[in-house]
Each structure stands twice: as C-alpha cells, then as structure tokens.
C-alpha cells in the first residue's frame, strides 16, 4: 500500500477500493464510468464532479442532519420523563454541534487521509487535513472523485456527530452534562475516528474486505457498546425497577422515529456515493427491512404481551434500519425483508428479556437496538449478500470467509469500542463527574442542569 504523504495523489488503489465499497462493489468499471461521465460535465478539463451525484450527496447530508436534529432528540426525549426532556434535547443537539467542530478541526483528517507510516495507517489516518487546510471549493473529493471534497467531508461529518449523539440514550436522565461533553470529544477522537479509518478509511478491516455499507459496525455497534458501558459505569437511575418511568410523550417518539426513517435514506442510499442504481438498491432494501422489522416487533409484542404498541412498532422500525445499514447496497429486497424480520424479533427480545435478565439500566435501549441490531446486520450482510440469496455478490463469493471477516469486525468493534469507552468514562468520571446529585436527579435535569422547563402549559 502506498503511504505517500502527498494527499490527493496517493493511495490510488486503496481509494479505488473504498469507492468500490461505497458504491456497492460495482468495481473499477463503475468508477471509471463515473469518471467519464464527470468528464463530460467537467467545468474544466480535469474536474470529475458530477452534478447529479453532487445533488444527491448534498441532499443525503441534509437528511442525515435531520436524523441528528431533531430526530434522535425527539425519539429519545419522548421516552424520558418530562422533567428530563430538555436534558435529552440539549445533549443530542449539543453533541451534534460539538461533533461537527471536532470533525472539521481534526476528525476528518484522522479518519480519511493516509498516515505516513503504513503500520499506523492500519489504525489511524494522517494530519494533513487538520483544519481542512488542503481543501478548496472546486476540488473533487480524493475519496469520491464524482463529488466535491467539502460535500464528502460534510457527509461523513454527519455520521460521526450523529453516532456520538446515539450514545446518550444509555444513561439518559442522570448523566452530568459537563462530563458528557468531555466524553464526546474524547470518544469521537479516540473511538469513532479510528474505527471509521479502520473500516472505511483504509485501515486493516478495510484491507480485509469487511462489508459495512453505511455503518453497521462504525456507527451502530460502536454506539451500542459505548452506551452499554456507559450505562453500567454511570449506574442505574434512582428508583429504577421501583418507580414508574413511563415515556412522557410517545407522540414525540413517533415523530423522532419517523424522521429517523426519512433521514436514514441519506445515510444508506447516500452511502452509495452517487445517484445511481446502487443508491436505488440501498433505498429499496432500507424500505423493505424497516417495514418488515417494524411489523415483526409489533406482532411479536402483540403475541407475547397482548398489545400491539406504537412503541414496539417504531422500535422495530429502528431495529430494521440499524440491521440493514451495513447490508443496504449488498443484499436484495427479499433478503432485506428476511433480515428485517430477524432483527425485529431479536431486538424485541434483547430489549425485554435480555436487559431485564442482566439488570443494567440502558435507559433507552441503545444496546438492545443499535448494538444487537448492528450485530445482526453485520453478520446477515455476509449471508444475504450472496447472489444465490438475492444479493450482489456473484459466483466466486465465499460466504463463510466473509462471515469470518464480519465476525472479526464485530468482535473488534465490541472489544476496542467497549474497552476504550470504559476507560474514557472512568477518566471523565474522575475529572468532571458523570452523574448528577440524587436530589437533582429527582427534581429533574431540566431545572437543575439547564435552568428551564420543557412545558409551561
């Protein structure tokens, strides 16, 4: 692998294969075709930027932003008690803003550029793009030559910042805000960025050929395990298991879940990197898996608990979205339906049975939905990607080999993410504290931390 420092001209091969990954493995042919198309549209002889692809990637970036503000805040916020509503909204919005800055200042560079040393490059990128100092408006992205550099940077930024927001569900209603912000900066830098580099940016799992279309490992398993570790380290809510803690507004949760679904098309179909057939495939599989998982959870609950709840329906939808994320551009629509059915049922059991059995207080089931759903998706991708099961991986595809690679990805993410997150939580606990006082927790974080109330009706 070429480890040249000259950003933008090196790493030809590696970038190529990243693009293959991102565009759903249609191979070098697709790329050069894109190049060709770009050429036809070129503003100058050298530009490879395609307006149609750029339009879709701009839109996709906006859609992922919608997931972060307001969708995840509403999905989570509706599930907490009204005295903590603003705390959740502040956390998710604040983390997203913070994540954007971290990404622009150093995160992008460390994730998506190449490190001078081949050995360290297996784990982390380089410093050349700190403060985006080498980008210009008219430059194409070195990673995706059919769109402008800034667009690719923004698109990936929304992933990083959103992922950090997802974690707060694990310890909602009790986390200390200053500690959380400190954790966020550290976690994006030391967990998200390396894993993004390892899986997408040219690191060792990327080299292994791990399949992760839009972030099953990088985003969901990663957020899920961090949330679980956080839930354990921060500890259970006062009154957990004793007091009733019903969602204060399932209406908000439904709005959030719906906007997550809507925005997720930017996530999944946007990860095609172009407005092409792979984007279409990612769209249809995203619809299929989500619809199937929503109904699977809903009906499982109806059967077992006696009521088909809205919360079950929308939780299932999120489980399906998570599971199809790594698979979206690799599996077919029928494979996606089956994947969704599996994810819906298994995540239902993870959130009801598993959590109660293990007695951790993952307030909003981040691990049960994102962690478990992400694992199902990562492994299911290896299976349903096979052409024989409707996927895009043709004759010479070795399902077992791929399954091993996927298992390795999952395992690595769980271990690396889990251990480093735990260390970071402990450091933050010492420096800032991670938990509010009991009195404050009882009165609610809205008044005690943020000095406001959500509703004055």
């Amino acid at each position: 692998m070429d480890a040249s420092n000259s950003y933008g001209h090196s790493q030809g091969e590696q970038r190529m294969s990243l693009i293959n990954r991102l565009t759903g493995a249609f191979g070098v042919g697709a790329l050069s075709a894109l190049g060709l198309a770009g050429a036809a549209l070129a503003q100058d002889a050298e530009s490879t930027i395609v307006a149609g692809d750029t339009a879709w990637m701009l839109t996709s970036t906006v859609l992922v932003t919608l997931m972060a503000v307001p969708a995840i805040g509403l999905f989570y916020g509706g599930l907490v008690r009204s005295k903590n509503m603003l705390s959740v909204l502040t956390q998710t919005f604040g983390i997203f803003a913070l994540g954007c800055l971290v990404w622009l200042l150093w995160g992008y560079s460390l994730a998506f550029t190449s490190n001078a040393s081949e050995a360290t490059n297996a784990f982390i990128g380089g410093f050349d793009q700190f403060f985006l100092k080498m980008s210009t408006p008219d430059a194409a992205s070195p990673v995706l030559s059919n769109i402008p550099d800034y667009v690719f940077i923004c698109f990936q930024m929304t992933f990083a910042a959103l992922t950090a927001s997802l974690i707060v569900g694990g310890f909602a209603e009790r986390i200390k805000y200053s500690g959380l912000l400190a954790f966020t900066v550290l976690w994006i830098t030391l967990v998200y960025v390396p894993i993004a580099h390892i899986v997408w940016g040219g690191g060792f799992l990327f080299a292994d050929g791990a399949l992760d279309f839009a972030g099953g490992t990088v985003v969901h398993i990663n957020a899920g395990i961090a949330a679980l570790v956080g839930a354990i380290i921060v500890g259970k809510r006062v009154g957990y298991g004793k007091d009733a803690m019903p969602p204060h507004s399932l209406t908000m949760t439904m709005i959030g879940a719906s906007l997550l679904w809507v925005g997720w098309f930017g996530f999944n179909a946007g990860s095609a990197g172009a407005a092409n057939g792979t984007a279409g495939l990612a769209m249809v599989t995203t619809f299929a898996a989500t619809a199937a998982a929503a109904l699977a959870w809903h009906f499982a609950e109806w059967l077992i608990k006696g009521h088909p709840s809205l919360l079950g329906l929308v939780s299932g939808a999120i489980a399906g979205l998570v599971a199809v994320t790594p698979a979206a551009g690799f599996v077919g629509p029928m494979g996606a339906i089956i994947l969704g059915l599996i994810a819906g049922v298994l995540c239902f059991f993870a959130c009801t049975g598993l959590k109660n059995a293990l007695k951790y207080d993952d307030s909003l089931d981040v691990f049960g939905v994102h962690g478990v759903g992400g694992i199902i998706g990562a492994l299911g991708t290896a299976i349903f990607a096979a052409a024989s099961l409707g996927g895009v991986k043709g004759d010479d595809y070795d399902m077992m080999a791929q399954l091993m690679i996927q298992l390795k990805s999952v395992g690595f993410t769980l271990v690396y993410g889990g251990v480093v997150s735990a260390v970071l939580f402990i450091i933050v606990k010492v420096l800032f504290g991670v938990r509010v006082k009991e009195d404050a927790e009882r009165e609610g974080l809205d008044i005690t931390t943020h000095g406001e109330r959500a509703y004055n009706m």
Binding site: E301, S315, C351, T352, D365
Partner: protein, 112 residues
C-alpha cells in the same frame, strides 16, 4: 350552607351539570383528579417495562349550596352520574361557614 363534593366519571360531567342547573344551582367548580378505589386500573407496557396504573381519571365537582338544597343536589348527582358499574364515584357533604362573592362582597347565601 354546605359544600357538596362529588367524584364522578369524566364523561358524566355535562349531564350532571345540566341537572344541577335545573335545580337552580348557579355555579360549580371542577377539578381533574385521579381516583383510587375498587375500580381497577390497567397495565401499560413500554418495551420491557410494565406499569400497573392503579389510578383512574375522575372529575371532582364542588358545589356550595343552601342547606335545604342538599338532598335534591345529592339525588340529582346520583341519578345522572350513575352507570351502575364500579367506579361511579362518591359524594361528600361538608359544613361550610361562610361564602363571599369577590366581585360584590356579598356574603353567604347571597353569594352563591
């Protein structure tokens, strides 16, 4: 004068109010309350967590009346608020020393 308080099922409010108006009761005050009693609540399930909700939404009416009206008012409330099913609610009668109308300063039965 007495204060009559009645805890009733919410959808019975309009009927009761009309019956009281027919008796010449000029005003009343209503509060949303939650009642606990023989009437069972229900169970709510949110993902893994099940909550037994033992409180049932009720309305509490407060009517201050001349003592001679007490029996008629009780009868009117009973006849209108009754469904015959558990949870129809209760009527309480309290002694009442004074009443003042803020707008005019009128007192006692004049103030009702």
């Amino acid at each position: 004068m007495k204060l009559i308080t009645a805890v009733i099922k919410p959808f019975k409010l309009d009927e009761v109010r009309e019956a009281l108006t027919a008796l010449g009761v000029m005003g009343l005050t209503v509060t949303e309350v939650k009642g606990y009693g023989r009437q069972k609540g229900h169970t709510e399930i949110y993902r893994g967590a099940e909550y037994a909700i033992s409180f049932v939404p009720k309305l509490k009416l407060e009517v201050a009346v001349k003592t001679e009206l007490v029996d008629a008012v009780i009868e009117a409330i009973v006849s209108k608020a009754k469904t015959g099913q558990i949870g129809d609610g209760k009527i309480f009668v309290y002694p009442l020393d004074h009443v003042v109308r803020i707008r005019t300063g009128e007192t006692d039965t004049e103030a009702l």
